[in-house]
Every structure is written in structure tokens, then in C-alpha cells.
């Protein structure tokens, strides 16, 4: 039986915003991310689960109990707020212990849980500080510790890392994962950062404009995006979309292709002739951004560095086996890649155009062309 289940949850403001008809089920101990662009209803969904917001339709079940009409305190969950919501007048220890004191948990039990939580979050020695005397990362960890001492089976987190700098984000991300595992928590984690969602979660719920676009494992979302929206949201850079006619296909399909599967070819040897719009050196590889009238977000990777020039014309090959076909009207996925695309992508980048590939020399001797 699933641990957390939402059935047809709807909450809108005057028919706008919020979430519409959201359903999913989550097993105990799973780490689920709610992913989507800003304003798509992620926080609203989390607040509905928490009981801080009431649905207009639908039911929420936690541990098999219908909690739709229950207040937040009776839902047996903890929450980490985006702003951390620490009490500014209380010390770190009092902030962490707030809930235990409210619930009149015994003194020795309080001390035991406080010590454990402070140790897990690395906050020992800061017990007597006020939140104003802590750094952003430390405040964030106080918020985590407060959720941890509650020892509730379900923990909700609303963009807990969005106020941290990039480096800290990576380390706290691992801490969160470790904490969830150590406590056996079921986590619902809201984020707009696909990197966080993909690396942390067992299940990702991708949302768009208040609706669920796709639910699946990170691998599923990456390899089999259910819609063109998912295709263009997941991946760094995301999938390129090419209108059917551009690839000699019917005009009722759109082809999607991962940049990892796109290969550069000499003029005349590929499927499309595109213009180089941008060259981004990333260290071990170089990202080439391309423009073509029939394509959106077309890009390719070249191993190492390159001596291709900006505005130069190149051919790209879009291997048929790696193409995903979407319905041009509904945007739904119609045909998956033919074989395990991961192996194919690996082959492609391996055998693809390194600096030593013969046609590459050919290309680089051509004079750079300016786009008309």
C-alpha cells in the first residue's frame, strides 16, 4: 500500500494558478521531487499535502488515513520552509526543540533527540546562537534539524537549497540525502533545479502550469520524456526538437534528439545543415549550439576543444534510432528511441567527431562563413 496518495487534488484561485487534478502515489521511504518552472504550482501542492492549504477537490491519504480535512498538526509530518521559518528570538537549540516542547516530550528525550539532530547536521557548539548570528548554510541546517527531531515519517521540503550558493548547495544536497536515508524518511522535495531533482530522487514529478506533465524515475524522464515540455525541460542542455518536415518526416510529428546523440558531419553528409550560433568550452568537451529554421535548441558536443568557427555552416546527423517522435498537435510521445539510447550515445560520442576525425580537418580548412 502506498504511503502518501493524492487523488484528483485541485486548488485554484479564481480559476487561475494553483494545481489542477493532481494524482500520484508514493511508497514508504521514497524520495520524491516535485520539479517544474517557477509558478507552476509546486509550493501550492506541497502546502496542500502539509495541510496549510485546503483542496477544492480531491483527497489526500497519508499512511492509509484520509487526512484531507485534518489540520497540519494531525498529519504526522515535518516541513522545511524555503525561507527556513526559524523563530528569530529563539536560540538554535530552542528552535530545534520548539515542536518537542509544544508536544510536551520528556526532558531527557528532548536532550537525546537534540544531540542526535545537532550531530547529524553538524551544528554542535552553535546551540546558544540566535538565527541572526548564523550563516545561510547554518540556518538551513537548523531548519533541517528541526524537521529531523520531530521524527515524523514524512518530511516536506520547499526549495530548501535555493538561498544557498552553488558550492554549499552541492554539499547540503548530499547531507539531505544522507539524513533521509539515516532516518528512513519519506521525502517530498520541491525544486525548480533539475540537477537537484535528478540526483536526489527515486521519483520525479514534473509539473507544468498546475498539472502533472510526467511522473517517473529520473532515468525515465531523461530517456523517455512523455511530452515536448518534458523533453525541453530535462537535461543540460535539454533535448532538441526538430519539425518533422525538416527530417523528411510527416508534418504531424516532431522529432526529439539528445545533444549527446547529435553528431557533426561534413557538409552534405548529415540530415540537416545548420549554422553554429555559439561555442562553449566546458573542459573535457565543447558544446556547439546550432540554429536551423526547423529546429529548437539544437546542440552537439565535441570531445576536447575545437577549431570550428562561429557562424560556420555544418551538417548534423540525427541518428534515426535515437529519435523520439512526438505528436505535433498534442505534444505527446509517440515513438521511443529504438534501442538503449545510453549505449548508443556512448558509441556516438566515442566514435563521433574528435579533433582527429578526418572530416573535421576537412571542415576546418573551409573559410568561416557569415550568416546572411
Amino acid at each position: 500500500m502506498s504511503f502518501l496518495e493524492l487523488k484528483g487534488i485541485t486548488r485554484e484561485w479564481n480559476g487561475q494558478g494553483g494545481v489542477k487534478n493532481v494524482s500520484f502515489a508514493l511508497p514508504r521511504g521514497a524520495f520524491m521531487s516535485i520539479l517544474g518552472p517557477s509558478g507552476c504550482g509546486k509550493s501550492t501542492l506541497l502546502r496542500l499535502i502539509a495541510g496549510l492549504e485546503q483542496p477544492q477537490a480531491g483527497q489526500i491519504h497519508i499512511e492509509g488515513r484520509d487526512v484531507t480535512a485534518r489540520p497540519a498538526a494531525q498529519r504526522n509530518l515535518s516541513m522545511v520552509f524555503q525561507s527556513y521559518a526559524l523563530f528569530p528570538h529563539l536560540s538554535v537549540a530552542d528552535n530545534v526543540l520548539f515542536g518537542l516542547k509544544v508536544r510536551r516530550i520528556g526532558r531527557s528525550e528532548q536532550v537525546r533527540r537534540l544531540d542526535k539532530a545537532l550531530e547529524m547536521t553538524g551544528l554542535q557548539g552553535l546551540e546558544h546562537r540566535k538565527p541572526a548570528q548564523l550563516s545561510g548554510g547554518q540556518r538551513q541546517r537548523v531548519a533541517l534539524a528541526r524537521a529531523a527531531v520531530a521524527e515524523k515519517p514524512l518530511c516536506l521540503m520547499d526549495e530548501p537549497l535555493s538561498n544557498l550558493d552553488a558550492k554549499l548547495r552541492h554539499s547540503v544536497r548530499r547531507d539531505i540525502r544522507a539524513l533521509a536515508r539515516a532516518l528512513g524518511l519519506t521525502v517530498v522535495y520541491v525544486t525548480h533545479d533539475q540537477g537537484e531533482a535528478m540526483s536526489l530522487s527515486d521519483i520525479v514529478v514534473l509539473m507544468n502550469a498546475g498539472r502533472i506533465e510526467q511522473i517517473g524515475s529520473p532515468q525515465d524522464l531523461f530517456q523517455r520524456p512523455a511530452t515536448t515540455f518534458a523533453a525541453q525541460f530535462i537535461g543540460e542542455p535539454p533535448m532538441a526538437l526538430v519539425d518533422g518536415p525538416g527530417l523528411a518526416l510527416n508534418d504531424d510529428v516532431i522529432a526529439g534528439i539528445r545533444p549527446e546523440a547529435v553528431a557533426l558531419r561534413p557538409i552534405g553528409a548529415g540530415d540537416l545543415t545548420a549554422t553554429i550560433k555559439d561555442i562553449e568550452f566546458l573542459g573535457s568537451k565543447t558544446r556547439i549550439a546550432l540554429t536551423h529554421p526547423a529546429a529548437h535548441g539544437l546542440a552537439a558536443f565535441v570531445a576536447g576543444s575545437t577549431n570550428l568557427a562561429l557562424w560556420q555552416m555544418v551538417d548534423v546527423s540525427i541518428p534515426e534510432n535515437d529519435r523520439l517522435l512526438f505528436n505535433a498537435q498534442t505534444g505527446k510521445l509517440e515513438k521511443e528511441p529504438q534501442q538503449n539510447s545510453e549505449t548508443r550515445i556512448r558509441q556516438n560520442t566515442a566514435s563521433g567527431i574528435g579533433p582527429k576525425a578526418p572530416f573535421h580537418l576537412n571542415l576546418s580548412t573551409k573559410p568561416a562563413q557569415k550568416e546572411p
Binding site: A72, F87, G99
Partner: protein, 297 residues
């Protein structure tokens, strides 16, 4: 002597004094000097045409302490403060909490509460004079409907002081509410949600989170209310003139009487000096003691 370090220090000192001087001049002329002059006056006897005033030391204070009216007035003022301060602050907090909640016609409620604070005290007193008027005043008419005997609220010693207190509370609560309302609006709403998830009831949230966060405001209001309990006597002139038989007379009114009705300036000065000393001590106590236990953001 002219090493750059000394020069720089001197330059900074001059800057400091220049920045300080406007406030210092104003305070000296309008606060420090008058206080000092008052104290000096209180040490001299009352001058008449025949006997010019002479230095008498603390004799004026001695007379004051032997004057039963002074003790009655001091006691009245103490009662007045003890009743009006806690009640008006509690009312202000309650009204602010209510006006800050999601209620219909919120701005109307806020305006309605604040209106008494806009009225001049004299106007407010005149308004309440109608409420208190024997037999056809509103209070007695309502009482009459309920079958109660008419009461001359302002005309009898047992009720006059309480009637005066009621006007002050009515006037001050709305004013203090504005401060509480402003402070409440700086509390982020997610603190309430965090407390809610932790299982805190509304009352627990109020006691453990809201009230501590409002402490700086409360301290500010408390000092203001205390000063007002001595300062705000305009309504006495309209309502009771301190009577009947001094039952509603407050210190400042008594000082005014001594200075400008009986022309006994040394006695008035002695009382003023005492009052200043007590108020100063109280303010110092509040700032020093309560400040330590107050959380400022």
C-alpha cells in the same frame, strides 16, 4: 604635536561635537535648563511683596510631604496609571491581533479603532461628557433600559476617577494598536505555519512566538503609556476639574493649580522636580532591566 594621528583624532572629535551640537543645544535650552531651573526654584521660598524669596533648602519638599492633598493626588495618579496602562496595552494588543487577522471590512475596523487617537483630548472629553451626563447621558439611558438607577458618574468621589480612566483607555488603546499592528505585520506568516506544523495551538503560538517578537514594541508602548499617565490631563479640565473633593485630581493638574491658580511656584517646582525624578528612574529601570530580556531583530 602635529603627527598625523593626533591631527586626525582631533579632526574626528570636532566632527563629533559638530554633529552632536544641534541636539545638544535644543535639549539644553528646552529640557536640561528648565529642569535645572525648576529644581533651583524649588529650593527658594515663595516671594511676596513684603518678604522677598529666600533660600530655604528642602523646606518646600517638607511642606509637600506634610500636605495630605499631595499624597491623595499621588495615590490617585498611581491608581490611574495602574488601571489605564495595563488595560489600554492589553486592549491595544487584542484589537491589533483582531485587525491583523483575515476579517471582512478589515480597513474599516482599523480606522474605527484608530479614530479616538486622532481626536484631540479636549474633543474626546467633551464627547464623553455627553455619555456621562446624569439622567439623559447615553450611559444612564442604557442603564435605564436595563432597569438600573441613574448614576452621576463624574459627580461622586467613588466613580469620578474611574470615569476619567475610561476616557484615557478609550483614547490610548487605538493609538497603541497602530504600533502593535505595524509590528505584527513584520512577522513573516511562515512562522505561524511552521508553528502550526509543529502542533502549536493559536494560544501557544501567541505566547511563544508573537508576544516575544512584540516585546520591543511593548517596551516602547509601556514607556509612552507611563509618561502619558502623568502628562495626559487635558480631559480633567473638561470632565471633573479634579473633583469632587480631589477624588479625580492627578499630579500634573495639582501642579498646574499650584502654579497658576494659587501662584505658589516653589511648591509647583518641588512637585515637578519629584515627578521628574520618579519618571526618570522608572524609564531607566525599564530600559536597563527589560532591554536585556527583549529580543531586537
Amino acid at each position: 604635536m602635529t603627527d598625523p594621528f593626533t591631527l586626525e583624532r582631533r579632526r574626528r572629535a570636532i566632527h563629533g561635537w559638530l554633529l552632536l551640537s544641534p541636539a545638544l543645544v535644543m535639549l539644553s535650552v528646552f529640557a536640561f535648563y528648565p529642569s535645572f531651573a525648576t529644581f533651583v526654584t524649588s529650593l527658594w521660598s515663595r516671594g511676596t511683596r513684603r518678604r522677598p524669596s529666600e533660600f530655604v533648602g528642602f523646606e518646600n519638599y517638607q511642606y509637600l510631604f506634610e500636605d495630605p492633598t499631595f499624597w491623595l493626588v499621588a495615590w490617585n495618579n498611581l491608581l490611574y496609571a495602574a488601571v489605564t496602562i495595563p488595560i489600554s496595552i492589553t486592549l491595544a494588543l487584542a484589537m491589533a491581533l483582531w485587525a491583523n487577522a483575515k476579517i471582512p471590512a478589515r480597513s474599516f475596523v482599523r480606522t474605527a479603532y484608530f479614530t479616538p487617537a486622532i481626536l484631540p483630548m479636549i474633543a474626546a472629553a467633551n464627547l464623553w461628557l455627553f455619555f456621562y451626563t446624569p439622567s439623559f447621558g447615553i450611559l444612564n439611558q442604557i442603564g435605564g433600559l436595563l432597569g438600573a438607577d441613574p448614576v452621576n458618574w463624574l459627580g461622586q468621589p467613588s466613580t469620578a476617577l474611574w470615569a476619567v480612566c475610561a476616557v484615557t483607555i478609550w483614547k490610548e488603546a487605538g493609538f497603541f494598536m497602530i504600533f502593535y499592528l505595524a509590528a505584527l505585520q513584520t512577522i513573516p506568516p511562515d512562522l505561524k505555519e511552521a508553528a502550526e506544523i509543529e502542533g502549536a495551538s493559536r494560544w501557544t503560538y501567541l505566547r511563544r512566538v508573537v508576544l516575544p517578537l512584540l516585546m520591543p514594541t511593548t517596551l516602547f508602548i509601556l514607556i509612552n503609556a507611563m509618561i502619558n499617565s502623568v502628562k495626559l490631563i487635558d480631559h480633567l479640565f473638561i470632565l471633573t476639574k479634579g473633583g469632587p473633593s480631589d477624588s479625580s485630581k492627578l499630579i500634573l493638574y495639582y501642579i498646574w493649580e499650584n502654579a497658576f491658580a494659587y501662584f505658589d511656584r516653589p511648591t509647583a517646582a518641588a512637585m515637578t522636580a519629584l515627578m521628574l525624578a520618579v519618571l526618570g528612574a522608572l524609564a531607566a529601570f525599564q530600559f536597563l532591566m527589560l532591554d536585556k530580556r527583549t529580543h531586537y531583530r
